[in-house]
């Protein structure tokens, strides 16, 4: 029998859910007020603590987000009125005015009730500021925009809570020391600043999708979080094609998550995947995002090109239907744009599929002297694969052995050990 849940039950879980929904906008709105994301987060946390104290007694308010904002705002005003802080902020505001910053509205109450979208955008550009290391950007973004706790971030990255906490403290200090303004970048700065944001989001995705360390091949919570951040950003910056390109790339890659893991947790390579296990909701979302990226008619950026490659796979009903020639052409464009040896390696794989292993091996051999790939396990893995196809089994085995020694993820290593076994003499060579 269904029962009505008393509104007083599970208040803490309700607060957690409200925090998940509201915290980014809360912190963003407060940061515009106090011009310091560290202080903004403290104020938001204080409002959260007040909710944890009061809501179990008073019940959850009808508009919990507004309640949190109101509470935090009062604390902010209290703090700003305290002479020392007030003076510091007044000086900062005066300095900003001097260097031609926007005139500040002294009416704090009016200011903080403005629409939130711009604040959220300011917050993303601040937590992903290029002055921060990528580790710092990722931790700060997950914390302030994702609403994740330090503990959750630590668990996802297999590091200690104190490491994450330190990263966050240092990141906030760096932002203060560099006097990073809480602003959306000017147009001429935008490409570089946006690249820094997209990189941080894609790093979160990649750690979820291809975990670099540990026993699990994927961390679904990081995949979901990065997708959420990407989708949010796509609505905030709808006319930036690369934002849609990144979203498309992540949706399409994420659509394969289930199929990438075999029954005993081993990795299943793209062409061996059971395509029925792809997530077709994500496939169609990815293709739609790619269309949005391409519809702006601006030159295709690296994320959009990668998404277009992923889309070639998504559109192939079976692996044999894959349009490898188109994939090679897209990799050509991507290689020109990025000059990345990793892209060259991927291009070689596509060439192998389109035009045969011999042509590919020639390209891969040129990459062997590339210092950036000297510890990259996929270089010997690809080379081994091509050599095996050419019947040069002994050489193939040696390459798989090198690859296995370099692979850091135990699941990936397992796949390579299988390949070594397949190349061993008692298996018919």
């Amino acid at each position: 029998m269904p029962t009505i849940r008393p509104s007083s039950s599970n208040v803490n879980r309700t607060i957690e859910a409200v925090w998940r929904i509201e915290s980014a906008r809360l912190i963003a709105g407060l940061a515009r007020l106090v011009r310091d994301i560290g202080l903004a987060e403290d104020l938001a946390q204080e409002a959260l603590v007040a909710a944890l104290e009061q809501w179990p007694e008073s019940g959850v308010p009808d508009k919990p987000g507004a309640w949190l904002m109101g509470t935090a705002k009062h604390r902010a005003i209290d703090r700003l009125r305290r002479a020392d802080v007030h003076e510091r902020k007044t000086q900062e505001l005066a300095r900003e005015a001097e260097i031609g910053g926007q005139a500040e509205n002294p009416d704090l109450d009016a200011e903080i009730d403005d629409p939130f979208d711009d604040d959220l955008l300011r917050l993303i550009f601040t937590t992903c500021h290029p002055v921060l290391s990528t580790d710092a950007r990722v931790a700060l973004t997950l914390r302030l925009l994702g609403g994740l706790t330090t503990k959750e971030i630590a668990r996802s990255y297999l590091v200690s809570e104190s490491t994450v906490a330190q990263r966050i403290v240092r990141a906030k200090r760096t932002l203060s020391a560099a006097r990073v303004p809480f602003e959306v970048p000017e147009r001429d700065e935008l490409p570089d600043r946006l690249a820094s944001v997209l990189e941080a989001i894609y790093l979160i995705f990649n750690e979820g999708y291809a975990a670099t360390a540990g026993d699990d091949l994927i961390r679904p919570e990081l995949i979901e979080e990065s997708l959420r951040l990407g989708r949010i950003l796509a609505e905030l910056l709808p006319s930036e094609p690369e934002v849609h390109g990144l979203v498309a790339l992540m949706e399409l890659q994420a659509s394969r998550s289930r199929a990438r893991i075999g029954p005993s947790g081993e990795q299943v390579l793209l062409l061996d995947q059971d395509r029925s296990r792809w997530d077709w909701v994500l496939v169609s979302r990815g293709l739609a995002a790619l269309e949005r990226a391409q519809s702006t008619r601006r030159a295709l950026g690296p994320y959009t090109l990668q998404a277009a490659i992923a889309a070639c796979h998504a559109r192939a009903r079976v692996a044999d239907d894959t349009d490898w020639e188109r994939i090679v052409a897209l990799y050509d464009a991507l290689a020109q744009l990025t000059r990345s040896p990793v892209v060259e390696l991927n291009r070689a794989v596509a060439v192998g599929m389109a035009y045969g292993p011999e042509a590919a091996l020639e390209l891969v051999d040129k990459l062997r002297s590339e210092p950036a790939l000297s510890d990259y396990h996929l270089l010997p893995a690809v080379r081994g694969d091509l050599l095996e196809k050419l019947g040069r089994i002994d050489q193939a085995r040696a390459e798989f052995e090198r690859a296995a020694a370099l692979a850091q993820n135990s699941r990936e290593r397992a796949v390579l050990l299988d390949r070594i076994a397949e190349c061993s003499p008692r298996n018919g060579g």
Binding site: R13, R20, D274, R277, V281
Partner: protein, 142 residues
């Protein structure tokens, strides 16, 4: 995790009465919130059950039954597909849905979506292959 949020039918939705302009604009704003928050994966409204059919199974027999169907409150008038972190988050979002019945008593139902893995070994390779064909066709028709 994903949840389907089922909007239950009302007498108005079953009678084919279009939502008021106010409700449409409230729903539009709410959907925009969902999209902006990265929560909404999909969502649609459904025609009344008078335009629907049911297929009743009895052993090998199949009977096609034309709508409309009784028990209005058990019928579905629309749905969302949401990606959220917990049931609690889905509940918090659902509380913010504009009342689907305008002023009266609307109901939505939140149900967690099974992932294919939840079926485990019951889904044999042959069944998966079949499912694959269907999904591809569905995707081709997008």
């Amino acid at each position: 995790m994903r949840f389907i949020v089922l909007v239950k039918a009302t007498e108005d939705s079953e009678a084919g009465v279009m939502p008021s302009q106010q409700l449409l604009s409230d729903m539009g704003n709410f959907n925009e919130e969902l999209v902006k928050a990265g929560v909404m994966l999909a969502g649609e409204g459904l025609h009344p059950s008078s335009k629907g059919v049911r297929i009743a199974f009895d052993g090998d027999e199949r009977r096609v039954i034309d709508g409309p169907f009784a028990e209005t409150k058990e019928l579905v008038a629309g749905y969302w597909l949401w990606q959220v972190k917990s049931l609690d988050e889905a509940i918090e979002w659902a509380k913010r849905i504009p009342n689907p019945d305008g002023k009266g008593g609307g109901v939505v139902e939140i149900r967690q979506v099974f992932e294919a893995d939840d079926f485990g070994e019951e889904l044999t390779p042959e069944l998966r292959e079949q499912e694959e064909r269907l999904r591809r066709e569905a995707a081709a028709n997008q």
